[in-house]
Symmetry: C4
Subunit: 256 residues, 4 copies
């Protein structure tokens, strides 16, 4: 397997679907929200993506079986006036710079195939400090979208995030714009040190308002605790095995 | 040599062979077991694999001649009701993430060519602590295999290994599953700091029971000592030459 | 997007244009000068270059919209006896060694297409010490060019820069020479710790004399301050997110 | 320039030439010897090799002109019963693992083209300690060559170098062996901290005896001093620019 491999599991007909991306990153905020949506909406898995740009790794589940790390795309047929959705979730983002570009290109190819015109990229924005009242800051690839998002209480602050947006979330805006797709990044402000379901809840609230979708939020807290356990295990193992190495959990904070 | 190069040395006819992989990793447990099996069963080398993903290096033998680092596949024709085997051994695993994917793909191609339906990936699981009574923990790519392995005293523990399985062993399970091959990883619990023949003996015992193969275990201890010497030399050299660098021997612990 | 992507936005007819490169590097001297020239001369953007060798990142602008990181080529039709110019500017240089070679190759292809015969590569030379009186040191890919540059007060000092010239600026001289293009690197001496508009002003003065182009210098100071703010933000974010990592801002000092 | 580029400058007819490789490495021993031979024998440059696997860099010469970093192959027509030689020299070895494999493959392709049957790879073996009496240790890709080299006072010591041979020198033996070429590595024992002309002299003495070639040794000392200056400059610059980074000069010691 030298190349990224797209495994199509099901074909669905979607009408003007909106793409929502929530891969692991700062505070796992984006992942929490997207995983939650997949569960609550009972979205259907249509595509698995395997890539040599992901860590060479399988996850071990509680029953002793494994799961090859991958990204997945779920489809949701909107009911009662809700829009159709495509949701990108996964265990990891690319471990290489080049992989971010390649995988974003693949996501955009699939999005175009399904006629996506709008993208929500979800993430966290780590301040390094305890966050009292969670807020959502944003960035978008056109000014009309910036204005629209302000209506949903998304904060656009001069020079924030000052370092730009790194990883798939950023590239969906940048490369998506080159393909004339509207894309906005919603970033839950978070300390960046822990999986942050509070921050995720705020992002979810904004997203649901924007999408005109309603989902329960109760499970989010629980999901956050479980994810924290897994992330903790990963960190522990990484620390045990790379005591002198850079990297490790930092990778999780590297990316929106 | 820009590409991985497969050197086929001999063609053999095998009946439903089982694939056993034991490349260097934590405690060199997997390598110890697989090397031991090759020796004790007088298995025959059929394939050498050279790759730019391995370190750019030759090993120097006691007589002053060298050996290009590589992976090798041995074949064993089972006698007296024993199964036929393919054994993967080698000096190194890939030095790059991408290489793990590529080489695992190559191993699986060869396995499919020979009609392999079951894979045993061998490794160590480093606890960072002195291990009193060696045990073997497992993970498998389907639940029936998990149940079967429990019969051989393989321990399946919730959330262990919490960080998943990294390297070729993990990918054989994950990517093997995508090709509908049964695959189980047997991990000898070990401190992770030293070549651990005691842990290897326990893995060997489980494996032999599962395979219905019998081999002497006496030489394992001796083999462990020799390997420790080589690994020690490598570490010494690496420390001398990269005093400020990360990596080095950590690479050996990086991988199951 | 697995490959570097050249987006041609406009075709212009240029007569014997001279290529000027000023990408980020030591003290951001080269970038300051080239950005300034683009602004002051009202040069016209003709090409955008996107590459998986750049960081996987978008910049966020003050109005909340984003910009995909890229390199850009501007064209300037010389007025009143001034020469035509092609100017290379951008947010980043390649993040990989291989990318430097590839992108320089692309720049030289485009240069040849437009009939470029002479190249000015602009950069800084970091001394690690406070610089009292800014000077410009040089290197060129033929001796005649060395002699010509001495006329413009460019200093050629034995063994300076002793470590050679790294990045696109260096390769434009080296690989440009293989294509029989005259190329000189003008390096403003700078501490290397800060964006240095004073050093940039000296490089601009030398370049304008050599090009027989006149531009105002007033805005350079202001531009330097703004750039310092952005670079500061990037550093801050990088430090917050990679507290134990090497790299970060060092990358900016890595390259002329 | 995405690919390694071979620039053939001259075609020469050689009779059973012997390949001698001396690229930068531990103590710069190999480079010192090979550069010295090129000078003293007035060998003729026939090939230049440029590669994206080399650092993206030009060297600056004393007169202000530059040299793109590269590897070079020189040819020498033996006089008075001396053998014909091909000599590989250069500024750097590959900066990537994969590059070592690719470049060694290219060297071997060229060697085969010229009918090379024997290879001398030259290097240093760093002990980390002051070396009182310089000696030469060896490794070869067949036992007959080991025996022959013992006649020239080359020392073959069990388990030395314990860590194997890394870089082009090692791969010339390993990959050369796969092509049925005889290859030996001669390593001057050295502290590894400095350019070591004394160690180089010992390697040169052994090599000249083996090749039945005579050259003056006087210039070697001087050459060593000059090289030390350049290496010092490179280290200084690297330290100034990557104060927190690993790598740097260690790269020079990384490789035989």
């Amino acid at each position: 397997m030298k190349e990224t491999f797209i495994r199509r599991m099901k074909d669905v007909a979607l009408k003007d679907p909106i793409l929502v991306e929530g891969l692991p990153g700062v505070g796992h905020v984006g992942k929490l929200v997207a995983d939650h949506l997949v569960e609550e909406l009972h979205a259907e898995k249509i595509i698995e993506i395997y890539s040599p740009h992901f860590p060479p790794q399988v996850m071990v589940k509680d029953d002793g079986t494994i799961k090859q790390v991958r990204n997945e795309i779920y489809a949701y047929k909107g009911r009662d006036g809700q829009p159709d959705l495509l949701l990108i979730v996964g265990d990891y983002q690319s471990a290489t710079n080049e992989g971010h570009y390649e995988l974003t290109g693949i996501f955009l190819d699939i999005a175009q195939e399904y006629g996506v015109k709008r993208i929500y990229a979800l993430g966290g924005y780590g301040t390094g400090q305890f966050v009292d009242k969670p807020t959502v800051i944003g960035a978008a690839n056109n000014i009309a979208l910036v204005e629209e998002m302000k209506l949903y209480d998304v904060i656009f602050q001069e020079n924030e995030p000052g370092g730009g947006i790194i990883g798939v979330s950023g590239l969906l805006l940048g490369l998506g714009g080159l393909r004339n797709m509207d894309a906005v990044c919603l970033m839950g402000v978070t300390s960046g040190y822990l999986v942050d379901p509070k921050s995720a809840q705020e992002v979810l609230r904004v997203l649901c308002t924007a999408l005109k979708v309603e989902v329960g939020m109760e499970a989010l807290q629980e999901r956050g605790k479980e994810m924290e356990k897994i992330v903790g295990k990963l960190q522990e193992m990484e620390k045990a095995q790379f005591p002198y190495e850079c990297g490790g959990d930092e990778d999780l904070r590297y990316i929106v």
